[in-house]
Symmetry: C2
Subunit: 238 residues, 2 copies
């Protein structure tokens, strides 16, 4: 068996590992890669670094993974195992719970929100399960299939967009060893002052001076999410 792209990654994974002296396995590879990315960010993921972490030659993981793209997909599916899926709730609470769990997953694994486009689209089994769960929660409410999917994708888009921002900020902070929003703003102060001195952003400046929840990411996330869910309920009359 060569690791060809024609059979899907997931198909290959289901075939029981055929053989002897298994140093490596998709599981071990995924675990090691996720550990690296969690600790040092997505840019620390290198085929060579991964191999080193597994005490194995640089090319060894290629037997299980057709390349770096495949590796990223594998990592995604691996961490989605930890996503708690809601059960026995109404559509609204299901979507809300799913969004909140996804946020938590993405806070545990900041790199999830920074994946290259291909990995973002990856149709992995566990992500399929998430979609299924969300669609099932919306089933039987009188919505057509297109609307159901659109609602799910709308919420998903909000979550990904919000977390893309939130985890970019948090990545920037840990990169520069900043530990509070104030420290971050201190770092950005010269640039910000320069912008403000142009006088072109009075409303923004007012925000900077009077806002009191600048660092309450959770509150900000909830507000947007609740607005979106309110709007879905109202507009679709469900």
């Amino acid at each position: 068996m060569s690791t060809d792209k024609s059979t899907s990654l997931w198909e290959r994974l289901e075939r029981p590992a055929p053989a002897p002296r298994q140093l490596l396995s998709p599981q071990r590879i995924a675990t090691a890669a996720v550990a690296i990315a969690d600790a040092e960010g997505l840019e620390a993921i290198t085929m060579r670094r991964l191999a080193a972490e597994l005490s194995v030659a640089p090319m060894a993981p290629y037997r299980y993974v057709s390349g770096k793209d495949d590796l990223l997909e594998l990592m995604v599916d691996h961490v989605y195992a930890d996503l708690r899926l809601p059960d026995g709730l109404g559509w609204r609470e299901s979507l809300r719970a799913l969004a909140m769990s996804t946020r938590e997953l993405m806070l545990d694994h900041r790199w999830l929100a920074q994946l290259p486009p291909q990995a973002k689209l990856a149709l992995t089994p566990r992500r399929m399960a998430v979609a299924e769960k969300a669609l099932a929660a919306l089933d039987g409410l009188g919505l057509d299939a297109d609307t159901m999917m659109s609602v799910f994708r709308g919420v998903d888009a909000y979550v990904h967009g919000a977390m893309s921002y939130e985890s970019a900020v948090s990545a920037l902070m840990s990169e520069q060893s900043l530990s509070s929003g104030d420290e971050l703003r201190g770092e950005l102060a010269p640039l910000m002052t320069w912008h403000m001195r142009t006088g072109r952003y009075p409303t923004f400046q007012h925000y900077l001076r009077t806002a009191t929840r600048k660092d309450d990411a959770r509150w900000q996330f909830d507000l947007g999410l609740d607005c979106l869910l309110d709007g879905i309920a109202a507009r679709l009359d469900i």
Copy 2:
């Protein structure tokens, strides 16, 4: 003058070009880089490729741009010049127009939705102007500064999330020279069939079989956006 990171990119840009025999300029660099990314995607952006396009030595652009990150910021600001800002509309129509224009900008420049986290956060002048515009539209409605910003960022998150998906799909299609949603689904059919054969995704399967607007990205975008705006109006009583 060395291109040091301590003075901000934007600060440096405002100083009039000091000198002689200007082959290069931030303008020319940005234009060339954007042309490459528009035509061949973000991964085609290479300092060497950029230099070649400008008929200049590989290291030449470094005089104007401190590195690739800086280049990306420059590109972002450059294309945001084309974003049409709404004027004289109510808060809702302003946010809606801003979202729609941003979508169009991101369709014209698919790479905008695929930027690395640092460039995504870039506080460029023209992006500051967008934020200012949105906040101004929400001013005077009785909202506190935190809520105003959160509403803006919520809409922004939705737009970025939705376009991140939409442009990842479109990037994938152009990468594989597919020109319709049907062709794309044809390409994905083996994988999808494999997933469906597990029987774990009945609702998803029902969607695949009965949906009629799978490729109407504009309709999907509008639905989510309108839900979000509805919810904002209702929840904040504005």
